[in-house]
């Protein structure tokens, strides 16, 4: 299976999905927890969806408010996320992330 380029931002998104693998997440919710702007977040989601790593569906809302798009990882996506995060962790233990206050 061809996998997309996994950037640090993509890893951040995958990490959030892995925290609640069965739940459907909204775009704005993902943006808040990852700190990514819409211009960064949505290309990542689009890429994951294109590679069948992410599934998306529309959720109806109250009258007059447009429906919302929700996302969760497919089984392939979950497998890839676990692999990539496992690979990334030892490296992150060696290199202190810039945003780490400790």
């Amino acid at each position: 299976m061809k996998t997309p380029r996994i950037s640090p931002e993509t890893l951040l998104v995958l990490e959030r999905f892995l925290e609640r693998p069965a739940d459907w997440l909204y775009g704005y919710e993902l943006s808040r927890v990852t700190g990514l702007k819409s211009g960064t977040l949505y290309p990542i989601l689009m890429r994951l969806e294109k590679h069948s790593l992410l599934e998306a569906c529309w959720v109806a809302t109250e009258d007059g408010v447009p429906p919302r798009h929700t996302y969760r990882l497919t089984p392939n996506g979950l497998e890839l996320a676990r692999t990539k995060l496992a690979e990334a962790r030892p490296r992150s233990m060696v290199r202190q992330p810039a945003y780490c206050s400790g």
Binding site: Y26, G27, Y28, S31, K37, S38, G39, T40, L41, Y42, P43, L45, M46, A56, V65, P66, P67, R68, H69
Partner: protein, 556 residues
Amino acid sequence: MLEVHIRQAATIFLETAIRIAPPDIRGWGQAMLGEMNYVEGPWAATMWALGGTSVMLKQALVALVIPGRREQEMVLDGGLFGRNASVRNAALVIGGACVLAALLFFVAPPFRQAFQVALEPYQVVSGSIQPGLKTLARQAEARHDSEGVAFCAVRVQDPRESARLAAEAVHLDPNLLWVYAAVAMRNPGLSETGPWVEKLEQWDPQNALFYLIAAESMQQANGHQARWSHLTQEQERAWQNVMAAAFRAPKFDDYFDRVAELNRRVVPRYGFRNPYEVASRDRTDLPLHAFQNSERFAKLLLQSGVDLEAKGDRAGAHEKYWTVGRFGQVLDSQGHTDLEHWMGTTLQAMAYGQLQASADKEGNQDEAALFGYLAAKFDPVKGEHTGFPPQSTFGLETSRRNAAVVEISGLMILVFSGLVAIATWILIVGTRRNAQRSAHRARPVATIVVLTSAVGLLFSSVTLYLTYRPYWYIFQSAIQSGDSVQTADFRYFLFGSQMIPGVSSRLHIALLDALFYSRSPSFLFYVWTGVTLLGVIGLALILLRHFLGRPHAHAP
């Protein structure tokens, strides 16, 4: 209330971007739009919308360049701007406004001059060299304007025409005799040089310039290539006599001030604003052959001094050394141009070096230290008093960079204008009832080409104007008040604007040298033509891929 308006404006932004985006991406745009209802705060919502807009626009651009990249859900008249006529009209209005704004720049004289400078490398292509100057010469001759004719005489590249105009100018006004010197200095091989020098020596006695011209005239009369080796003993003696007269002359006047004064009078009179031509005399400088002749004669003098010193004639030797030093001082103090100062400092350094050696031999340490200091001070390469390169405010690199920006902006104006014209033609053809199906299909692409090219045209025009504006003021100041403080910057800029952007000066000079000797003046034309052709081929490939590579339409 304000919050509502900001949110509404952000929503319109994103909605517009969604319309522009390829159909298969629009769902993602709707997703971002849906989430906007939950974004807290108007500014956060605006930033969210702008982020979404950038994603949509990027996808639109990708779809335009690589149409087969995504499996698009095509509609019959689909693609960018395909469905929404109002968006297409809005795009065309914006494009038209940009083109109009870009055209308005031509009202500003600095912009016209900047455009002229930017297209200078193409001048060679037209086959007519110095067309503006030739027209000016005709006008000046028709008006019997001696100054106008003299202005052209010192600039025209064709030696015969230059000599004819110089004779005409002096005929109209005998006070313009110095024009002979300006023309002969550039073209010492002219048959008129001998008689001219005789007249000039009577008119302005003791000016070293005429002897330098006469010395080179002797060289060229005997073949330019071999320089001195071919001279007979008699010719060598005559050459040395002329050079000795130059070295004895107490004065050096290159008539630079008179040329500057001529500029101030003639340029406004004829509205002649070609900076290359106006500054051409300023850039010409004393020709290199004058430096070669002077350096050779200085070496001969210094060697004869060494011989005299060996025979015990110290006074005679020092007289020879000081002759070289004095001539260097005359050139350095009375010259105006880079090479004149360079010559002056070089000759002084040579003389002081020899005087230092002489003092060392005699054991006069104080004198040796003084001359050693002077030799180092006037060292043309390492010394502090080189007079070269001339002082500038912006610096060589800045002026070169500005020149590259002006060149590229001018080229971009041409390219974008061409694209706007082609796309507009496609749009006009596509609106006809009997237009071919392909012309109809091309309309959305033509719309986006018009819009992006018009924006590019405006951007290039603004860049060209803002970059050239400081040089326009330097030019104006030099013409109107004779202020030459920043002319070094202007010269650097003009020199840079004839170079290829991105190519190092060393490589460029090597290339120019190679091409100069192969007598190919159209070098810059070939380079720019190559660049433009590559751009056009690239665009053609994109369009071909767009039309040939797009999938067939299917019913929804």
